[in-house]
Amino acid sequence: MMESKGSHKWTKNILNELDINPKIVVCAKKAGYVSASSILGASHNELEEKLGLSSFHIKNFIDAVTSHVLPKKTSAWDLSQTGEGDPKHITLGCQNLDNFLGGGVPAQGITEMTGQSGSGKTQIALQLSLCAQLPPVAGGLGKGVAYICTESQFPTARLQQMVKHFKAKHSKGPASYTDGIFVHHIPDMDSLVDCVRYQLPCLLSQRPIGLVVLDSVASPFRAEESNMENKNLLYTLGYQLHQLAATYHIAIVAINQVTSVIGNNNLYGHSGNVVPTLGLTWANLVTTRLMIGRTDSHVQAEQTEGSRQVKKSSSKTIVEYNVRELEVIFCPWLGKKSCPFVVTSKGIEDVE
C-alpha cells in the first residue's frame, strides 16, 4: 500500500496524468518512456531521438513531467509562520530534561538512543510510550505507540508499575495507556525489515499512531555478519523508517547498543571508550543521536511505600539511585551537552 504509493510513484505510468499534446503521449508510450524516472533520467537529445519529436515538443514534455513531480515550494519564512519548520518533541515528563532537550525528545526523523546495557534506554523508551499518549497541550502527541521488541519480552510488569504513577501525575491522558501501545516481537533481521515495509504502514493507516519505538535496532543485525547485503538491508530499514516518518508524521525512536573501542576513537566528536554499533551505514541515517550512561555519582531519596497512604509515620526507607546521564552526540538544532536523571519506580525523574 504505502510501498506502492511511495516507491512506485516515480516508476509508474504517469503519461495519462499529464496535460500535454496527445501526440507526445502516443510517441512516448511507443518508445517506452512512461515513468517519471525514465523520462527525467534521459537527456534531451536521447528523448528527441527515441520519440522522434521536435525539440519544442520534447521541451514541453519534460516541463510537464517536471511540474507533475515537483514537490511543493515553500520558503523558510512560510515554514516559520505555520510552525511546520519547528522541530517537534515528545515530553519526557521531567522538566529539567525537557528544558535541556528544548521541549523533549526530538520527534523529527530518526532519534537514536544508544548506551551501555543497563544504562536506562528501555526505561526512557517506556516513559516515552506513555508520554506520547498525552495530548499535545501536555507535550505529547495524543496518539498511540507501536513498540517493536527485538531482544527480550516486552516488560509488561514494569510498564504497569509506571502507568500507576503516571496516571496519578498526569490527569489529561487517555483512560487506558496500555491500550494505546501495540507491541510486536520480531527477533530477526529480515522479518524486521518486512515489518517496517508492509505491516507498519498497514497499522499506521488504520490506527492513530504517533510514535514507533524500535527496541533495539542493533540486536537483529549484530548477530549476522556485516557484509554488503546486510548493510543494504540496514540501509533499507532506516530509509523506510524515514519515509514512514515523513508520510505519516510520526516520531521514530531507535535503541542502539555500544561496543568498546581500542585506542582513541573520535569519529563522532565523542571521545570515550565506547562507540555506537552498526557503523557508518546506520549513523548516516540517524537525525539525532543521544547517548545514555551511568555515572559514578549517586543520589539519595526517600522511597514511599507504593501508592498506599501510610497513616502513621513509619520509618521510610532511604534508597540510593545511580545518577544517569543523557548526552546529545549530534542533533541538527541542539548543541552538545549532557543532563543528569535517575530511574525510579515511577519511571524517569529529574535529579533535584
Binding site: 524516472s37 525539440s55 514537490p71 515553500t74 515554514l79 519547528d86 548516516n284 541538527p332
Partner: protein, 399 residues
C-alpha cells in the same frame, strides 16, 4: 525571405553566396536593378538564425538540405525529424543530427583568458563568517562552481549549508553576493530555528559594519527567511525535478545565487531495483547540477555522506560516498572531521590552492573561527588572496 524574388534568388544564390557577392555582381546575375539588389543584400545579411552551411554538417547532407530550400536554422527549427526526412530525403538519424546541430548553432564566440580572469575575480564569493575557512576556500564558497561538503554524521555539514543560505544574502554594499538561496532537503535536517538564529546574528553583524543604507536596511531576518526557497524531496526523481526546474524558478526569482542539496547521497544509496538505473540517474543529476552553476552564475553546495572503503590488505579508509561517478563532478571538495573537540575542514580537491585545512566551530550564530586562533600548519602557500572588498566583512568579525 526575399519576398517576390525568393524563388529566383534561392535557385541562383544562397544567402552565403549573397554575402560574398557585391551588389553589382548580384544585379548582373539576377538581371535586376542595383537598388533591388541592395535591398536583397541587406535582407540577406539581416537574416535571423545562423546559416545551416556554417553548422559544420557534412557536405552531402548540406546539398540535400539546400536543394530542399532549407538554408537557415530558422527554416528547420520547428520541424520534426520525420517531416525533415520526407522533405530532404535524409535518413531519420541524420535529420535528428541536423536538428540538434541547428539548435546548438548559437555558439558564443570564443572568449580570451584575460576576460575570463577579470570576470572571475570580479565575482563575489559566499563568505562563511569564519576567516580561516574563507581563506581556505580562497575568499569563500565560489560562484559558478560545485562545492562538495562531506563528513561524518553530526560534524556540521547542514550547519555549513544553513550558514551559506544566510551569507549569500549579504548586501552587495558590504561585499556580499546579495542573492537568494534554494534549499533542497532530502533528509529532513533543515531547521527553521537554526536559520533564524544565524540570520539574526548576521543582521546584527551587518548593522555594525555600515554600508549603503537602502541596501543594508533591506537585510532583515524576515527578508533572509523569505529569500530561502525550500523543497523537501522524498526521492531522487523529485531532486532531479527540482534541479531541472531551476531555469523556470529563475524567471520568477531571478536573483537566486545559491543551490544547496542536502544531501546528494541519501536517496541514491537506497537499494534501487536496478543498479544501472541508479547509476544513470546519478549521472543525470551530476550533469544537471552543472547547468545552474555555469549558466546562471550560481554557487552549488552539495553535502555527502562518508563511507568505508576497504582496501585489499584489510585496512579501511573513510571516503565520501557515491564513488567516482559523482567524484569528478564537484570543483571543490571540503571534508569536515573532528580533531579532538574541534572541528576541522580540509580541502581535498581545489583548483586554486594546495590541499590544506582550517579549524572552525559551530556557534548559535553559525560558523565561526576557533577562539584561540591556532590553525593547523598548511602544507604550502595559499596562492589565491581574497579581494580587498571582502576584507570589509572580515574586519568587523569580532565574534
Amino acid at each position: 525571405m526575399f519576398g517576390s524574388l525568393k524563388g529566383e534568388v534561392v535557385r541562383k544564390a544562397t544567402p552565403m553566396r549573397i554575402h560574398l557577392t557585391c551588389v553589382r555582381d548580384l544585379a548582373w546575375c539576377l538581371w535586376r536593378s542595383i537598388d533591388t539588389c541592395e535591398a536583397v543584400m541587406t535582407e540577406a545579411v539581416g537574416t535571423s538564425g545562423g546559416l545551416l552551411s556554417e553548422c559544420g554538417l557534412p557536405s552531402s547532407q548540406m546539398m540535400k538540405l539546400l536543394s530542399a530550400d532549407f538554408t537557415t536554422t530558422d527554416d528547420v527549427k520547428d520541424m520534426k525529424p520525420s517531416e525533415l526526412s520526407q522533405a530532404t530525403g535524409l535518413s531519420l538519424k541524420e535529420c535528428v543530427e541536423v536538428l540538434r546541430t541547428a539548435s546548438n548553432s548559437h555558439h558564443p564566440s570564443p572568449v580570451d583568458m584575460l576576460q575570463i580572469y577579470q570576470e572571475g575575480s570580479e565575482l563575489p564569493q559566499i563568505v562563511t563568517f569564519c576567516k580561516a575557512l574563507d581563506t581556505l576556500l580562497g575568499g569563500g564558497i565560489p560562484l559558478q562552481a560545485i562545492t562538495e561538503v562531506s563528513g561524518m554524521p553530526g560534524v556540521g555539514k547542514t550547519q555549513v549549508c544553513l550558514q551559506a543560505c544566510v551569507s549569500v544574502q549579504l548586501p552587495k554594499s558590504v561585499g556580499g553576493v546579495g542573492g537568494e538561496a534554494v534549499y533542497v532537503d532530502t533528509e529532513g535536517s533543515f531547521t527553521v530555528k537554526r536559520l533564524k538564529d544565524m540570520a539574526s546574528c548576521a543582521v546584527h553583524h551587518v548593522g555594525t559594519i555600515g554600508g549603503v543604507a537602502e541596501d543594508v536596511s533591506g537585510f532583515t531576518i524576515e527578508s533572509i527567511m523569505k529569500g530561502v526557497h525550500y523543497f523537501r524531496c522524498q526521492n531522487c526523481v523529485e531532486v532531479l525535478a527540482v534541479v531541472k526546474n531551476i531555469p523556470k524558478l529563475m524567471l520568477v526569482h531571478p536573483n537566486i545565487r545559491l543551490l544547496v542539496l542536502d544531501s546528494v547521497s541519501f536517496h541514491f544509496r537506497h537499494d534501487f531495483p536496478d543498479a544501472r538505473d541508479r547509476a544513470k540517474l546519478l549521472r543525470t543529476v551530476t550533469k544537471e547540477l552543472i547547468q545552474p552553476a555555469v549558466t546562471h552564475k550560481m554557487a552549488v553546495l552539495v553535502t555527502n555522506h562518508m563511507t568505508t572503503n576497504v582496501k585489499e590488505k584489510g585496512s579501511a579508509t573513510l571516503v565520501p560516498a557515491l564513488g567516482e561517478t559523482w567524484g569528478h563532478c564537484p570543483t571543490l571538495r571540503l571534508n569536515l572531521s573532528w580533531c579532538g573537540p574541534t572541528r576541522v575542514a580540509a580541502l581535498t580537491k581545489a583548483p586554486h590552492c594546495q590541499n590544506s585545512s582550517a579549524y572552525f566551530q559551530v556557534s548559535i550564530g553559525g560558523l565561526r573561527d576557533v577562539s584561540d586562533n591556532t590553525q593547523p600548519s598548511t602544507a604550502g602557500n595559499l596562492q589565491h588572496e581574497p579581494l580587498n572588498k571582502k576584507r570589509k566583512i572580515m574586519e568587523s568579525n569580532d565574534r
